[in-house]
Amino acid sequence: VIELPILAAAAKVDTGDTAWMLVATALVLLMTPALGLFYAGLVRSKNTLNTFMMCVAAIAVAAVTWALIGYSLAFDGDAPLIGGLDHVGLHDVTFEPREGTTIPHLVFMVFQATFCIITVALVSGAVVERMRFGAFLVFAALWSVLVYAVLAHWAFGGGWLIEGGTLDFAGGVPVEMASGFSALAAALVVGARKDYGRQALLPHNGIYVLIGAGLLWFGWFGFNGGSGFSTGNASVLAFTNTLLTPACSLLMWFALDLIRGRKVTAIGAATAIIVGCVLITPAGGFIAPGWAMLLGAVGALPCYAVIVLRPRTRVDETLDVLAAHGIAGLTGILFIGFFAQLAWNDVADGLLYGNAAQLGDQVLAALAAPAYAFGVTYLLLRVIGAVMPLRASERDETLGMDVVQHGEEAYSTGEGAILVTPEAGVEAEVPVKPI
């Protein structure tokens, strides 16, 4: 009897797991346009399209770099620092399951691709309203490989953190701390907007911000719920915690807003949703629902503090990626060290359940990931900046990035617009008859 290899492989694929992971992948991809909406609402109206376009660009650039090289560097082999080149150009990534999973390797790869994409998009929040679009494209391509793929290898792909015992369920290291601390570096290298600290730079559309946050939360069920790569217990736990933690962050944010300004703010609520989702990202499949709720409430405190204090500095980290992602991700990573519970996760206990070593592993990640992300991003932008200008001229910044970089406006009225070329398929001259 000749055993067909394709059938042997098919036997190892679980259809239920695969079905869920296909859906989860689409959910995570939705998070990037959702982030575009969230960010676009937070900037001034003259920069709406450019801000959204940075997220669209992240999809275009990071999907390609991921397929070409990023996936291989992140997930080929278990060398401590960086993966191998066996999967370059998706070589050998097929329908057979990746080792240790019950889903086709292609599904695993494309699920991870959406993580790389959203992380690149997140960093743009630090430099909106002044970074040149072309320079951002170059930065996105290089950053997705040099920072994201490397940290994904450390935490997910068999690198030194995961092998050393660090627990990171859905990306506290490569997604949240990487984007947050890279955002800080990017803000420092690119520099503040010219009006920063001189004029009130306010969100132009709070509804975009709320819809964006809502869609991000929706997508996050795929992000966390898919990070078990199955429909197993870890995924179910993470999925559940993705509701509970942000809800508690929201309540804590309401309370903090009340204490600080006597009013609960909507932009604050949208921020709290993101913070809660980020807090539970690393911990989702490792901690009990009760602890997840505590994480939502307590974890909101340092993020709130950074959001309040950062605008009083000269660092124009424009959309507070450091606070909402860097600090929240770091908090979530450390929280695992205390509250991880073998009875719930089948992997390891934390300090509270008698395993102090786990906290040590978590602290290591909380030191290494920010240092690497900050350092490499800083150097990378310095190098790109030596080759091409990173930011638009003052005049262009004044006019707005939409008109200058894209030749479009988000809210064009058509008043005063003279047609130059007629739209294809429409008669060039339609006689206008008075009625």
Partner: protein, 119 residues
Amino acid sequence: VAVKLVIGIVRPEKANDVLEALYRAEVRGLSMSRVQGHGGELDRVETYRGTTVKVGLAEKVRFEIAVSDPFVEPTIDALREGARTGEVGDGKIFVVPLERAVRIRTGETDVGAVTPVGE
């Protein structure tokens, strides 16, 4: 003393600088509105899918400031100081005589009507 209406049409991005300059010149009563206009600056080309257009009208902010005669020059100076960039499209200032001015609350007229409360 006669009363004049000073109309300043400026770049929207310079509106804050104008407000600041007016405040320093102690000109306190004003209104502003968003308008669209054309004053000889280059057209902007925009493309939406297959449609390319030249946008001839630019966003401007229009200040309307009613002042008594001694305040006309300081108002003009403040508008110029706040709004000027040196590029085409900085805007215009028009000064027109006012036949009457009435403060609705008190019925004061002319200079009384345009003098801010508390001075």
